[in-house]
Symmetry: C2
Subunit: 429 residues, 2 copies
């Protein structure tokens, strides 16, 4: 993409409404713009990131054998009355009436609708287990939306629902999803910790939350120091994670904690995912039965599993930035390369830049080619801000020797290389 | 995908609520399920088609130089009051109040929001022209939702908006988008006709609708017979399409028609897209100015361009089906191949089927492997219904000779071939 054709409204000043780094940087980098309280427009750079994250989530769900569906935003209230949640959900639910005066709502979550799909279409144990998921916009009318997309009202979420014949199989679905979450976050370059959690308005018997540890996290979490040790050395696997102590504040009892005080970490985390074992909490009121292999009607045993896709962007930036801007993990970066021509109009610079641009496109590497006439300083500030993995800088001096400067945004290292060597380094040859 | 792992709730009977073929077939093939009047759940097969269509739309928008953004479903009313459309929009607009009693709405279209984005972020002629688009769910509270996804209430739509410095450039944006539409529908295997149309509540001076001609179309359209002649011979190009007479009913004056009666066609069409030249209809009330190269503030000149993505599925099926089911155009098909094993449990059949399944996956060809124990008749009925481009049938008789049967869903031709030859034919070697 050539910058001259792109839409990247960079803000040079820090917007006053943003109190945390991710919110500030998403506004400054032209990723989002607030439409109204807690509701955001996604501009091209932000949408690219949202799509990259969705793709990783989708890929891991598909690999775990889940099937993608899509449920509508607007739901009828009757299913919520059937499950017993309608009256209790409170003001977080956005309610409305249609032209025929029927009560409707903008789905804050989808247990009712998915269970309705299940009961109307699946009748036999032969069709189980099944895990259905969607990535869809949801609405929760937060009393105080804040921190940009981290606590917005309209937000993008992956929600999955497992249906099994019995508890044992349901627990194994739960563990399969837990493992998929572990892999999903890892692929995004995030260190997460899974803590025991309250199940809240979703309900159910067992629940764990995945947290990214940062000082700006909204939740207090407590865990065994071994997590950090294993995580730092890259030895944290799924089984260990499940065996170590980790709890959200409401589940942590300081007077009765199995971890000795000198090994207990107290940190703040951003919740990016949650898994629930639901049992028959929804299948019972909604009468979601299947026939087992003896011809008996039994209630489906369920689990549900959420990932906050839009919120993840905030969490990733909180964990990956410096004073100058965002530092995208490679799997998430909207552009892998910022190609910066310092002297537009200079024939040699333009020739090298155009040829490099073409080579990157041929190699299917996403690139933003800065062909503006801004000053070098302004260009460096822009590209440090938007956080491409690599910056390729072309200026008249190095161009005269057929060289470019290659800079790695995270490691900060700068190398003077021929265009061919720079390209090979980016490709990873 | 193995059928045993998939979620494909086929209906053997025609559902009574469906009066047209596309609605009937989408329900029967397990693509969609109604949640409530005019609001649908998308099951895995339907979602795949929706994604395939979206990908073609997106690809053509990107090629036309448009930039993708994403605007939220829920909008504040203030922008609509500013544009003057709020009071006039009527009951088709789904309105609600949030917890702080602020009036909100579920966007039926996005001229206000995109113009707001524009005016807040683009100030100079140097940044023009710009065309921004999104593919997003919209809501129009139709008084009588019908025909399944063809006239639903919550629907998926691509909406694009062009911003130019002057009329001449805006007309060229309009023509560029018209051309992109022409290519988009062609790539979906659809013959469309562009008719002059009323601009309706969107407003503006010039508008054309793209129609798929079918007897079940909701609109009456009139056009020069030459369209059909050129279309049938594959000679219909963009320039010719723009030069020939074609009008929607409300724009057609029989007493003053330039086409002689013997060349005038009167048909029914399904509207799948519409392009509008808006001029300053929105930029003026919303004060969307840019500075021109003389430093003067001038109003942006706009156009807007819609494609009904979910509705397109209905239109494509209306144009591509027979008594037995759907016949997907190759670019849209959820599965290119149905691999049908007639005798599960038979070692030879399973070996050939598994190996064929693997080869298709290696070649990245989408395949549904029917590994069920249903009867041959039931399997054929299912796969004719869901309309994969090819059916590969493996039965004990042909398997004994290391042969498979290859059937083309559209052409009906059946060939007995070695697995290798069948694969090559599918790949197009």
């Amino acid at each position: 993409m050539r910058l001259s054709n792109y839409f990247l409204p960079i803000l040079k000043e820090n917007p006053s409404e943003a109190s945390i780094a991710s919110h500030r940087l998403m506004l400054r980098a032209g990723m989002i713009r607030q439409l109204t309280s807690g509701i955001y427009n996604w501009l091209p750079l932000g949408l690219k990131v949202l799509n990259n994250i969705s793709a990783i989530v989708r890929d891991n769900m598909d690999k775990a054998g889940c099937l993608e569906v899509l449920m509508p935003c607007i739901q009828p209230v009757e299913l919520w009355q059937e499950s017993g949640r309608f009256d209790g959900y409170g003001k977080e639910m956005l309610r409305m009436k249609d032209r025929h005066d029927r009560e409707m709502l903008f789905g804050p979550t989808n247990e009712e609708v998915i269970t309705d799909i299940f009961r109307n279409n699946i009748t036999s144990y032969k069709e189980l287990p099944k895990t259905l998921y969607q990535i869809q916009w949801k609405f929760r009318d937060e009393i105080r939306p804040r921190f940009g997309v981290m606590r917005g009202r309209e937000f993008y979420m992956k929600d999955a629902y497992s249906f099994d014949l019995d508890e044992e199989s349901a627990v194994s679905s739960y563990n399969r999803m837990f493992r998929a979450y572990f892999n999903t976050f890892k692929q995004m370059g995030l260190n997460t910790i899974a803590v025991k959690a309250d199940s809240g308005p979703i309900g159910g018997d067992l629940s764990q939350e995945f947290h990214v540890i940062t000082d700006t996290g909204e939740s207090a979490i407590f865990y065994d120091k071994k997590f950090d040790e294993l995580s730092a050395s890259g030895h944290l696997d799924f089984e260990t994670m499940q065996s170590l102590y980790a709890a959200a504040e409401e589940k942590h009892d300081p007077t009765n904690c199995p971890v000795p005080a000198d090994r207990l970490m107290a940190k703040r985390g951003i919740e990016v995912g949650q898994v629930f074992y639901l049992g028959t909490k929804y299948s019972e009121p909604l009468k979601a039965y299947v026939n087992n292999n003896k011809g008996e009607r039994v209630l489906a045993v369920m689990g549900c599993y959420g990932i906050g896709v839009s919120r993840l962007i905030g969490a990733i930036i909180e964990a990956n930035h410096d004073d100058r801007g965002i530092i995208w993990p490679e799997s998430i970066a909207p552009f892998k390369v910022s190609l910066i021509n310092l002297k537009m109009g200079d024939v040699l610079c333009e020739t090298i830049a155009e040829s490099f641009y073409q080579s990157l496109q041929n190699a299917e590497i996403s690139v933003l080619y800065d062909n503006s006439t801004e000053s070098a300083g302004s260009k460096f500030a822009t590209h440090d801000l938007i956080g491409s993995v690599w910056q390729v800088v072309i200026g008249p001096k190095s161009a005269a020797n057929n060289m470019v400067e290659l800079k790695h945004r995270l490691r900060g290292e700068k190398l003077e290389l021929t265009p061919e060597s720079a390209l090979n380094k980016i490709i990873g040859k």
